[in-house]
């Protein structure tokens, strides 16, 4: 099992788990999102190839109303 932080929440997954699998688990597949892993952007094109590692800190964002 690996432990990762997603938007400040702790989640555990059996290895291996890709970014794409994580996004599917969060019911965000196909949604307009962007993802950062340990401070670096993970481009959409790398979602299926990028594997999560223990201790990763992820931020998943959307567009919201704002000034």
């Amino acid at each position: 099992m690996i432990t990762v932080s997603i938007n400040g929440a702790t989640r555990q997954f059996p290895e291996p788990v890709s970014v794409a699998a994580l996004i599917e688990e969060m019911v965000l597949t196909g949604k307009r999102i962007a993802l950062e892993r340990n401070g670096e952007i993970v481009p959409r094109s790398a979602f299926t190839t990028e594997q999560l590692a223990d201790g990763d800190k992820l931020e998943v964002v959307v567009a919201v109303g704002g000034g």
Binding site: K31, V61, V62, G67
Partner: protein, 264 residues
Amino acid sequence: MNEKLVIAGKSYSSRLLIGTGKYKDFTETKAAVDASGAEIVTIAIRRSNIGQNPNEPSLLEILPPSQYTLLPNSAGCYNAADAVRTLRLARELLEGHSLVKLEVLGDPQSLYPNVIETIAAAKILVDEGFQVMVYTSDDPIVAKHLEDIGCVAIMPLASLIGSGMGILNPWNLQLIMERVQVPVIVDAGVGTASDAAIAMELGCDGVLMNTAIAAAQHPVLMASAMKLAVEAGRFAYLAGRMPKKFYSASPSSPTENIIAPTDS
């Protein structure tokens, strides 16, 4: 005579830019944006739900990037690093769209911009190929510096964010406009239509606002008022106002051929 507003090589007919925060719901947001005639609308970048709300509506369905120029901001960031990360996420989210609004705040009470961190972030973003429209103080030296870094629009406050206090220092805006070649867009502080008109009469290239519309009793009606105010102010600026005189001794009606005075 009324040329279009050009930002980073792209032309816009509307000189009113509006934010999408603080509306009752997305329906009202969309109605206000459409009533305002704004082509550039700001959005914020925030954490997504992570599965707890799979049917959450998306702002981008209401405001599709194909129809509006979305301007993601770094609102809520208090240092350069956070602002840069937020805007990198925005560029990824909007599939390479590089026009952004940089905003780095100084403290949560006043929401006054932190110009030191703003300058640091602007340098990084320009180097990374972003087209940076920058929210800043009304300091003309800072404004010029931000232009020299490569920002595509300078956006000084008229008064504090969300205050509705209007144009508190028109002279500083004048100093900025004299020194800066890129568009100068008043961002923050507008409270009502006359404030927007005054900004445009001063010669500003545009006005960006959010709360003045969203916090009005009738936001969609205020959005229409702002559209008219920005157009009126722009036309008045282009027309060139008459000079102010304490008194003129020059009545508007002819002074000759007035009928004979009444016998007393």
